[in-house]
């Protein structure tokens, strides 16, 4: 849908402000520097000096609160921004972190003393409290110890809450998380023995550093908060530019394609939930240690929405953006509006206007949030600091891509490409009696097909004959209702898509399923996901082994992209959404190749290409075949089939109606009838 002219939209004034915002240079001017070394150094210095410069404890307190919410925004950013899972109940993890610390650092829970507690007393985790009714245990676990412990417990709940939501799509996932987000404060309210119910858990212990108590001045909390936020920013950035981050973004962009590229969706979704929850758990501990009180009201739906507004405002998916968004909105609420209110009160007293004296702007903060949310969604969905970067335009020379002629596979450095670890003398892919039904519709009926190793087999047939369904069944996207599928001698029917990729079958999609807002390079590197081994810890620490793996992966990606001459290489950092249709098809093939498949399934690879491009791609496929790759191909263009395939299988309405060499099949009566109708072969009445 074309973007309407701003003046045509209602709320023209808002639109005009948006236009001004867009042109506002400060944001575009700051953004590139935000991530640079100079920028970070400057920020660090400013953050360290702030309390000293400010001197006003209330302001430092506001800043400390802002940091807490920045940490929460970072955590939600991982779930919503990176992995694309809309979590409307994020405050639940905040609550869990807070109450966990509260339970272990206050007078709330005081079980009876027994021998069991002696080792804990020795570790200084509990104290023995004399009481006329029998000695009691008083928990006094250290704040510093509780930070990671709460994070871990919250992460556990993240997995617990995430598990049921895995199969659900967008809206439904949001509602279920909202449900969990509401259940937690309700449980907190109705479990007074642990949480003191609605009355709130009071008297939570303050942190101590080597015996020195933090006291009520806000400055020590501010520094702890700043360190926490710095750590979380570091973690977010490391994860984002790693295999884990790529996997999340793939899931966010297109879950089905992500699975087909070897990403274990369940594992990564749970990982996102767990890490996001862990951030919130640690922040909960920090926040409650500062406030010394925890009530169920602090963790209800409006808090989850507030964090969502912060990341929408700052820029979903952008690490610096969400921090900025959180800080601005918190400071707006606690600082600017408060001061403004006091100022209005003073004026009101001065000029004796009653309602000015009563006005409380801070209570309109939620109204402001509502407006921000609507305005951002309508006019600037990418937020203040967008997650996607701007790229340089191409030079004229780069734009004039030459048609690749003379594809020489020996030139390319594709070591180990298409190699087989053992010679299979049988078929590499053996499909036997495969049936797939969708309700009453029989999409495939007892289809049998063999793909010998190192061959090119083509599947053809009229529209609706079940060709793509065949691919979907092989790659695990639909389940078979009968028959067997064996790959390299092992049964693969029933395996999830990422496991199929792992075994060595990669595919492209008929209607293109790329990851639209990711770059060409990122798309191809996601294809490599199953062949890399870096986990979350490795991504975080970036050990030499991880760095080497990333480097090698990048080089291999480049090598694969060079198959297509200079069509894709100059566009490495462009988002695939900005590519031409033919280029997108090429990227998808490159992505499939990146996973080092033994068998490549190409679903109408030349669709939409002109004859020159078709010829070029056919050459490239032939080259890949010569490298040893086995290819199963769905094609409509019979000249391509004749050129590439050694064996052709014909499907019609779910049945295999013919197979053989391309020439034999082309002349087969059944095939002609299937494509062109009865009249073409028999001269009788046409069957549509």
């Amino acid at each position: 849908m074309p973007d309407k002219d701003l003046t045509e939209r209602p709320l023209g004034m808002l639109g005009a402000s948006y236009a001004w915002l867009r042109r506002a240079s400060p944001i575009q001017w700051i953004a590139p520097y935000a991530g640079s070394r100079l920028g970070i150094a400057g920020l660090t210095v400013a953050a360290l000096l702030f309390p000293i410069v400010s001197g006003n404890d209330a302001n430092i307190d506001s800043a400390a609160n802002a940091l807490a919410f920045a940490a929460l925004a970072l955590g939600l950013n991982i779930v919503v921004g990176f992995a694309g899972l809309l979590d409307l109940g994020y405050a639940a993890f905040f609550a869990i972190g807070a109450y966990t610390y509260g339970a272990f650092a206050s007078y709330q829970i005081e079980p009876a003393w027994s021998q069991f507690w002696v080792p804990f007393q020795w570790l200084d985790l509990v104290a023995r409290v004399p009481d006329p009714g029998g000695d009691l245990v008083h928990f006094q676990v250290s704040f510093w110890l509780m930070l990671p412990v709460s994070a871990a417990i919250a992460a556990l709940f993240g997995v617990l809450f995430g598990a049921p939501t895995l199969r659900l799509k967008g809206d439904y996932l949001a509602i279920v998380t909202l449900g969990f987000g509401e259940i937690v404060p309700i449980v907190a309210r109705n479990w007074p023995s642990v949480t003191n119910g609605a009355m709130g858990l009071n008297g939570v212990a303050q942190p101590q550093l080597f015996g020195w108590k933090f006291g009520i001045g806000a400055t020590p909390y501010y520094y702890v908060g700043a360190v926490l936020v710095a750590l979380l920013i570091f973690t977010s950035l490391r994860l984002k530019s790693s295999r884990i981050g790529r996997a999340w973004m793939a899931i966010r962009e297109d879950e089905v394609a992500a699975a087909a590229m070897g990403i274990n969706r369940v594992k990564f979704k749970l990982l996102a939930f767990a890490i996001g929850a862990g951030f919130a758990g640690a922040t909960g501990t920090f926040y409650v240690a500062k406030l010394q009180t925890a009530t169920p009201e602090m963790f209800m739906f409006p808090v989850s929405v507030m964090i969502l507004v912060m990341i929408v405002f700052g820029g979903i998916g952008s690490v610096w953006g969400v921090v900025l968004g959180a800080m601005i909105l918190q400071i707006l609420q606690s600082w600017v509006l408060e001061d403004l209110s006091q100022w209005l009160h003073a004026i009101g007293r001065l000029i004796h206007v009653d309602w000015l004296q009563r006005i409380e702007l801070a209570s309109s903060i939620e109204l402001i949030f509502g407006f921000i949310l609507v305005a951002m969604m309508l006019y600037r969905r990418e937020g203040l600091i967008p997650a996607t970067r701007r790229v340089q335009g191409l030079t004229l020379a780069q734009q004039a891509a030459q048609v690749g002629t003379g594809f020489a596979p020996e030139r390319l450095n594709l070591a180990g490409f298409g190699a087989h670890d053992r010679e299979t003398d049988g078929a590499l892919l053996d499909i036997d009696g495969l049936s797939v039904r969708f309700g009453g519709l029989v999409a495939l009926h007892r289809v049998a097909l063999q793909v010998p190793a190192r061959s090119v087999v083509a599947v053809i047939g009229p529209n609706g004959s079940g060709k793509s369904t065949l691919f979907n069944a092989v790659t695990g996207l639909v389940s078979a209702d009968g028959g067997a599928i064996r790959f390299a001698g092992r049964d693969i029917a029933g395996l999830p898509p990422h496991a199929v990729l792992d075994r060595g079958i990669a595919r492209t999609f008929q209607n293109l399923r790329l990851f639209p807002s990711l770059t060409v390079l990122e798309n191809v590197m996601i294809g490599m996901h199953a062949r890399l081994a870096t986990g979350a810890v490795g991504a975080l620490l970036r050990l030499p082994g991880t760095r080497r793996e990333e480097e090698a992966a990048r080089e291999r990606a480049l090598a694969i992209l060079e198959i297509f001459g200079n069509r894709l290489v100059p566009r490495l950092d462009h988002t695939v959404a900005s590519l031409s249709y033919a280029n997108r098809r090429r990227v998808e093939i490159a992505r499939a190749l990146a996973s080092h498949p033994k068998l490549l399934l190409l679903d109408e690879p030349t669709a939409g290409m002109n004859p020159a491009e078709t010829h070029e791609l056919a050459d490239q496929i032939k080259g890949l075949h010569r490298l040893g790759l086995t290819i199963l191909l769905i094609e409509h263009k019979l000249d391509v089939v004749v050129d590439l395939a050694q064996h052709v299988v014909v499907l019609d309405h779910g049945d295999k109606i013919a197979e053989g060499t391309p020439d034999a099949v082309r002349r087969d009566e059944e095939v002609i009838r299937a494509y062109l109708g009865r009249s073409a072969s028999l001269g009788g009445a046409a069957v549509a």
């Binding site: 209330a58 009355m199 009520i216 009201e297 403004l340 209570s363």
Partner: protein, 411 residues
């Protein structure tokens, strides 16, 4: 001409200038008195009346030249939030930190609600900032049993010009048993700190007095429908109902109980005393409800009539009993500041706290002295019943709540 761009520059600059100017003005011989009340939410109206009582005292003192020569500057902070729909303990804690961190604040008035008080007390104690609450009645905050939790600084800082629920609940139970002569009761609370506390003490005393407590349940202030629990209560056929809680749930309870159990005796604590009940529930539903306040009833006293007239003229609205306790609380602070100034000691919060502790002041509600925990020595619980007076405005607390007497204190 104010262009949009210049406005965006000018507004923050003006704010900044304003704050600086404000602080400068505050600098010479002024002290600040913090006022923390739930001015947003379901209790906003009674909070407003309390605030008015305090402001009246402060304005009167300022007109006479201040307290001991010091001008008084009120710092009003709202501990109610839209999220909670009423008082919010987390906001109260934030306000407490704000007051403690502001060196010009030497004393505070409030909070109205005990839930806020529990959150604020530890913070105020660490800052040795005294506050006098005109209406928070939960006894835990000043109880020596919980001193470690609510008074980590050691000294008493939570003073009250009201009695606590250690008396408000039980005395009402006595009233139910002795004066109203009911035999059975069903107890409800609204899950808040104050509500649960007062319902607990009422229930315990009822059981001691031999009343048959048929059951206890909890209302959700955010929910609309109480017909289910009221039907359940109806089926148990009690003589009476007691509700511990504030107006957000209370108003709905009043309306719906009028439909479902119209004839049984119904009563509540000081959460049910206020214009919210009269306006929100209206007549005929609210007629007959009993309510208590944890203070002596002086509003109907002819000696106070002149004060009442002045209040109504100044604010355009009639006061309620807690406006008086707030007025008295402010005067205690003013008196304390004057005494500190007279003694030559610096007027800071430590000295003001000590002066408040040793208060012996005659006020509208009688003589005020505090015990070592900060509680009022003179403990009186007054009982009211809502009786419709058509000759007066139907939302005027002073006329629609009929004073029934002092609730019998337990032996």
């Amino acid at each position: 001409m104010l262009s949009r761009r210049s406005l965006i520059v000018q507004l923050p600059a003006a704010t900044l200038a304003g704050s600086v100017a404000l602080r400068a003005f505050a600098a010479d011989k002024t002290v600040t008195i913090g006022i923390d009340l739930p001015l947003t939410g379901a209790d906003a109206q009674s909070a407003q009346k309390i605030k008015d009582g305090a402001i009246m005292a402060i304005d009167e003192a300022n007109e006479k030249g201040g307290a001991g020569g010091y001008k008084l500057n009120p710092l009003v902070l709202d501990d109610g939030t839209a999220t909670a729909g009423q008082y919010d303990p987390a906001q109260a804690a934030t306000n407490a930190r704000k007051m403690v961190s502001d060196d010009t604040v030497v004393a505070a008035i409030g909070p109205q609600m005990s839930g806020s008080g529990k959150a604020m007390s530890p913070i105020l104690s660490q800052g040795n900032l005294a506050t006098i609450t005109p209406s928070s009645t939960n006894p835990d905050i000043t109880s020596p049993k919980f001193a470690g939790q609510y008074r980590p600084g050691g000294k008493a800082i939570y003073f009250r010009t009201v009695t606590t629920d250690a008396f408000q609940g039980p005395n009402m139970a006595n009233y139910y048993a002795d004066t109203l002569k009911v035999k059975s009761v069903y107890v409800l609370d609204d899950s808040g700190a104050y509500g649960v506390g007062i319902a607990d003490t009422f229930q315990a005393q009822s059981q001691k007095r031999g009343l048959n407590v048929l059951g206890r349940d909890q209302l959700n202030p955010k929910e609309a429908d109480y017909t289910t629990v009221l039907t359940k209560i109806k089926s148990l056929n009690p003589d009476s109902l007691y509700y511990g809680g504030v107006a957000q749930a209370g108003v709905k309870l009043v309306k719906q109980s009028y439909d479902i159990v119209p004839t049984i005796v119904k009563g509540g604590g000081d959460g049910m005393y206020g214009p919210e009940v009269l306006k929100g529930a209206g007549f005929p539903a609210c007629a007959g409800w009993y309510a208590t306040i944890a203070a002596p009833h002086v509003l109907g006293d002819p000696a106070v009539a002149e004060w009442t007239a002045r209040f109504t003229k100044k604010f355009g609205e009639p006061p309620e009993d807690y406006s008086i306790t707030a007025y008295d609380a402010a005067n205690v602070i003013i008196d304390a500041i004057a005494r500190v100034a007279a003694s030559g000691k610096p007027v800071n919060r430590d000295n003001v706290r000590d002066a408040i502790q040793s208060t012996k002041l005659k006020t509208l509600q009688g003589e005020i002295t505090f015990d070592e925990n900060g509680d009022l020595v003179n403990k009186v619980i007054s009982v009211f019943q809502i009786v419709k007076d058509d000759t007066k405005p139907l939302d005027d607390v002073a006329y629609q709540y009929k004073y029934m007497g002092v609730a019998p204190q337990s032996a």
